[in-house]
């Protein structure tokens, strides 16, 4: 059977690390933003100004973290896991487009950053939560049963 292209199992922990690093950086930035409206000088309109570079770095940190968590191999990567992965991915895409459609219908001025955020976080976060939840549920009977 053809194996899906996935990251090695250890990459999941690297992904969690990226996400955990991202959170305090964003929090500190958020706190800092109360004192200063922007880290970039008002007349700096270059593409790679300080704000934009910060956005790129934090965005990449979070996205890479989520991708590594979502698409790393399980300890035993068998056909049932592949099936669960595919099912969860399908649900994530459905949810993503449902929210996108609702947003487009319910709002008159759509913020590009908001759309970017929806398209980036929702599919991956929902995929991870759903995938891990199904695995957790399937593992429950094994914890209560004897090994036979």
């Amino acid at each position: 059977m053809r194996q899906p292209r996935l990251f090695p199992h250890w990459a999941r922990y690297l992904g969690y690390f990226c996400i955990l690093v991202h959170i305090p950086i964003m929090w500190l930035r958020h706190m800092d933003a109360f004192g200063h409206s922007s880290a970039t000088a008002p007349d700096d309109h270059s593409l790679f100004n300080r704000d934009h570079l910060f956005f790129i770095v934090t965005f990449l940190l979070m996205v890479v973290g989520l991708i590594l968590v979502a698409f790393s191999k399980e300890k035993i990567e068998d056909e049932q896991i592949s099936r669960l992965r595919l099912d969860s991915l399908q649900w994530a895409i459905y949810l993503n487009y449902l929210i996108l459609i609702i947003t487009l219908i319910a709002t008159d001025k759509v913020n590009n950053h908001f759309i970017l955020a929806i398209d980036t976080w929702i599919p991956l976060v929902f995929f991870i939560v759903r995938f891990r939840w199904v695995i957790f549920r399937l593992n429950q009977p094994l914890k209560t049963d004897n090994p036979s």
């Binding site: 035993i76 068998d78 056909e79 049932q80 896991i81 399937l138 094994l142 090994p147 036979s148």
Partner: protein, 66 residues
Amino acid sequence: MKNTIRVQRAIKDITQADLAAQVNVSRQTINTIEGNIYVPSTVLALKIARVFGLPVEELFILEERD
């Protein structure tokens, strides 16, 4: 589709973990197959049948609704 894996395991006296190791899947997968939650692929069904030395039709039986 129902199956007789649990019965065959009892006859052969092997655990879910043993069977899982022999066909290179997780114990969780064997458990869900036995519980008719998950239907295995043809490849996995053939591997399981080979462990028990039985034809696939004796392990996996189609039901009316299939």
